[in-house]
Amino acid sequence: MNIDGIRVLETGYNSAPWNMAIDEALLEGLGDTPTLRLYGWRPAAVSIGYFQSLEREVNVTTCNKYGIDVVRRITGGGAVFHDSELTYSFLTKSYDKNIMESYKVICDAVIIGLGRLGFSAKFSPINDITINGKKVSGNAQTRKKNVLLQHGTILLDADIEKMFSVLKVAPEKIHDKTITDARQRITVLNRTFDETATALKAGFGEKFNAEPVIDALAWQEQDMAKKLVREKYATKRWNWKR
């Protein structure tokens, strides 16, 4: 990847439909400059992978009880409980056609950022980043209209009990996914959102040798996102698609 600058959007805490709509709106309207978006989720939310069944993966009744949003992503991968975390999206038209290689390149930027916080993190294929062998970040990507979108989570803290109350874990996975084991397999940064955001901006800047330039959502992007919330991400047709 050879790029001049990175547009940085810090869009704060938003609902799940709005978060996914902004990512897609950015994908639709991306120019030649790559975009790094940093955001959080309020209320907490569960996102499921494009190919997953909402009914089979999520305790929707429990989500409703706690006021937790539920949304389907346009990317594959697994169900994620978004609570105390920083989420990033990176969009670019300049990328390696080899999917695993492009995961590695973008995850490297995250890893450099985590390094700035003092963590020695590693890319763990297919789509994870680990610290001392424990997962701290899950990532997923799609390619549409010559744009690569990769989004990923970075755990700042974790409420494992709540996570397991909203996610239905398959019996085929449960032998290594009990709550006790989850604590052994997951790690968190215990850093603030702002500290982590600053480190991530620096990590992407260093990885791509490009200046991060703070920007705001354009009105066209906001309009597109509103339309996508209304017509896609807040609809049963999309979220219960499978």
């Binding site: 069944s53 346009i74 297919i126």
Partner: protein, 90 residues
């Protein structure tokens, strides 16, 4: 018509919901935490599996042909075939 579901653990998890009659697939929905690029390939695969005999060679041929231009992470054609045929054991 018979209905069955199966969950199969490959590199990623594959869940299959199957309706079949006389050993032929009538309807199939495949879900899971895998990755397929482009994503629309899965809907095409499900469509092409309809009418396929529930036999290993027949299913594997459709899976391989249908996903030939796609990049898949989390399972291979063998795993997908076993995930589908596993519905018959339920």
């Amino acid at each position: 018509m018979k209905e069955s579901t199966n969950t199969y653990k490959s590199q990623k998890l594959i869940r299959v919901f199957l309706k079949y009659e006389k050993d032929t697939i009538q309807q199939i929905t495949i879900t899971g935490d895998f990755f397929i690029h482009p994503e629309e390939s899965l809907e095409r695969l499900e469509g092409e599996l309809v009418g396929t005999k529930l036999e290993k060679s027949a299913i594997m041929e459709v899976v391989e042909r249908s996903l030939t231009d796609s990049q898949v992470f989390g399972f291979d054609s063998q795993a997908m075939t076993e995930a589908i045929l596993g519905c018959l054991d339920k």
